[in-house]
């Protein structure tokens, strides 16, 4: 048991972080917005934490948790502000065009971070202070955060705003006609996802001990989108499950050596073909839940 935690402590926390990142893409997708910007906000969050902890807060010994929480707060806020500024014009685009615009944003952020001296150029920022003595220690922070965000997403799905998101996803014109403000709700969903991605980035910078321009790239965008699509895009359980399974899979398959990524890809293909609704299919869970709702209508 102890050996298990020593070997896989890092992986367990990383799975939770990736699940959170999956949720950050799921939030705009709830309102029908195919955004690949999560990785960009993830990068912003990481840089906020990396710069603050290496250049502003000078500490010796274990890094105070309070500072880490402050960094995550600032990272979340900054990401949220950037999301609103970018989101208002960008969210006029739909579907694949929005996806392209968000890819452009991610690429711009990457090139900017490569060229600034404060972000350390291509080498990035390293030697980021550690608040916990082992990777598993991060679970105290990441575990509750994941539960909290899952609970938030669960409540959101049933709330007025959540229903507005879903109405927008199903038919924007109809939703608009029913008095739902599309711009407001779309930007809100986009900003919520961005704030979450920023927070995850700030924690990840400490967790990985280093941050560089290779972190929030197009590759990450696609990986995170895969969490949502393989996991299931119709309930919050999908991205969480997808993020965890897809992160763990290459490590679980490690004994296969050179074959591991081939088997990994094969399993993903099979999942995409045979479970098109995702691993977490809400119909399985909701069969019992929807019955009383139907009586009401």
């Amino acid at each position: 048991m102890e050996a298990f935690f020593q070997t896989y402590g890092f992986l367990l926390v990383y799975m939770c972080l990736q699940a959170l990142l999956g949720l950050s893409t799921y939030l705009p997708l709830m309102a029908g917005q195919l955004s690949l910007a999560s990785s960009g906000f993830y990068a912003i969050g990481g840089y906020v934490a990396a710069i603050l902890s290496t250049q502003v807060f000078h500490t010796s010994g274990a890094y105070p948790i309070g500072y880490l929480l402050l960094e995550t707060l600032l990272a979340g806020l900054l990401s949220g502000v950037v999301a609103v500024v970018v989101g208002i014009p960008a969210l006029r685009l739909r579907g694949i065009y929005l996806a392209l615009a968000t890819i452009a944003m991610v690429e711009i952020l990457r090139v900017v971070s490569l060229n600034l001296s404060i972000t350390g150029g291509a080498v990035g920022i390293f030697g980021i202070a550690q608040p916990f003595s082992s990777p598993l220690g991060y679970m105290w922070l990441v575990g509750p955060l994941l539960l909290l965000v899952m609970f938030f997403a669960y409540r959101l799905e049933g709330s007025r705003i959540g229903r507005a998101f879903i109405a927008l996803r199903e038919d924007e014109l109809a939703a608009d006609a029913m008095g739902i403000n599309p711009t407001y709700h779309k930007v809100l969903a986009f900003a919520l996802g961005a704030m979450l991605a920023g927070v995850v980035g700030a924690i990840s910078a400490h967790f990985l001990n280093t941050w560089n321009a290779r972190q929030g790239t197009f590759d990450v965008s696609i990986a995170v989108l895969a969490y949502v699509l393989i996991g299931g895009s119709r309930s919050f359980a999908g991205p969480v499950l997808g993020g965890m399974v897809l992160t763990a899979l290459p490590e679980v398959l490690r004994p296969l050596k050179d074959l591991r990524f081939i088997v990994d890809g094969l399993l993903l293909m099979l999942a995409a073909i045979y479970l098109p609704q995702g691993l977490a299919n809400p119909n399985w869970l909701a069969r019992r839940k929807t019955a009383p709702v139907r009586e009401k209508t």
Binding site: F5, F10, L114, G121, G124, Q215, R254
Partner: protein, 387 residues
């Protein structure tokens, strides 16, 4: 239940180490990028390590005790490197780790080894600050600052009339951005003028903008810091645009992989090398022969550095084994002693003689500057020594 979970976590955090003996064959970890887009380098490193495993085991291993390399793929990212290191330390129970491939990965993963007190030898980590990660980190790859200046001096020897220098580098590559800094400092120190600094990406294929801008300043010498594909293409496009002056390629171009990219236009490019296949020494000759027989080409710097990494660990283990047979050591005790032994030794590797300074960084005594000579058909070429 909660108390139990809590006590397990506390135990884990204390990092309780039970005394365990070293297993036979002696496990040595090699964690490099065997997958992802970094695998181009990682595969070369795997080959180098495998040649070393065969070579030293056929010499009797560690004074008669065989050793075994455990390969755990890091893939191309930081998280993958950490996962691979954790597996090496806790599952494979290795005495030392050779890896990871990229400096950025090293900044993330080496910390794990330092906390577990496991020696790490970076086979190709050239960024500033690698040995400073912690007490258990060193490298067999010379930092960029050391290799680059030789090439500039060699160019000045070939053409003493050089006055104006244009510099170009791949801005998304950590190695190239550090290397160009060194190149620029050297150029200024030699009293030459830098006319322009042009940036490109390792993924670029069209360099019209950079080529036009650079040639507009009429340079006598152009220095390129990039990798094989982009650097080779840039060389070709500079020559096609009519550039007649000298070209210096950084360490990223120190591979036969550039030959098919720039073909006959590669001819004459001056390359700074941390490793040269034609370097003297019987061990390099043996290593080169094994490589050439199997792969029908010259070994690259990455292969030689991985070989040297394994060699350093094996040589240090041999010295420790003479003090006390290896199977008598407790694993944690051996790891600590091994690190000390590694740093105190001097090793005659294919890279030439190397040792380690008080800051744990490599001291590589021979650096090479070569000039590319292409065959008449422009298909194949070789690196020719400049002295």
């Amino acid at each position: 239940m909660r108390e139990k979970a809590l006590s397990i976590l506390v135990l884990v955090m204390l990092g309780t180490v039970s005394a365990q003996k070293v297993t036979i064959p002696i496990p040595i970890g090699v964690s490099v990028a065997q997958t992802s887009n970094v695998a181009l380098l990682g595969r070369e490193q795997v080959i180098g390590a495998q040649i070393a495993e065969q070579f030293f085991n056929s010499q009797g291993g560690i004074n008669g005790t065989p050793f075994k390399l455990y390969f755990e793929d890091t893939s191309g990212d930081e998280a993958g490197a950490i996962n691979a290191f954790q597996t090496q330390i806790n599952r494979n129970k290795v005495v030392a780790i050779i890896g990871p491939t990229l400096s950025q990965q090293a900044f993330a993963a080496d910390k794990i080894a330092v906390e577990a007190k496991v020696p790490v030898i970076g086979p190709s980590n050239t960024a500033k600050g690698i040995p400073q990660i912690g007490d258990f980190v060193t490298r067999v790859s010379a930092p960029v600052a050391i290799v680059a200046p030789y090439a500039v001096k060699a160019a000045l020897k070939l053409d003493p009339n050089i006055k104006k220098v244009a510099v170009m580098y791949a801005q998304n590559d950590a190695f190239s951005t550090s290397e160009t800094g060194t190149f620029q400092d050297t150029v200024k120190a030699q009293g030459l003028e830098i006319t322009t600094v042009q940036k490109f990406q390792t993924t670029d294929t069209d360099f019209t903008t950079q080529v036009t801008a650079a040639l507009g300043t009429k340079p006598d010498l152009i220095i390129i810091s990039g990798l094989a594909a982009d650097g080779g293409n840039l060389v070709k496009q500079l020559r096609l645009a009519g550039f007649k002056g000298l070209l210096i390629g950084g360490n990223g171009l120190n591979t036969a992989n550039v030959f098919p990219v720039c073909q006959q236009y590669c001819d004459g490019v001056i390359i700074a090398q941390a490793y040269s296949p034609t370097a003297p020494g019987s061990l390099n000759a043996a290593f080169r022969t094994v490589y050439k027989n199997t792969y029908k080409r010259e070994p690259s710097q990455f292969t030689a550095q991985a070989f040297a990494g394994v060699q350093v660990v094996v040589t240090a283990l041999r010295a420790l084994d003479k003090q006390k047979k290896l199977d008598q050591w407790d694993l944690p005790e051996l790891r600590v002693a091994l690190m000390k032994q590694i740093l105190s030794g001097r090793y005659n590797t294919p890279l030439g003689p190397i040792s380690f300074g008080p800051d744990r960084d490599i001291i590589q005594e021979s650096n090479y500057v070569a000039q590319i000579k292409m065959d008449a058909d422009g298909k194949n070429g070789k690196f020719e020594f400049l002295k």
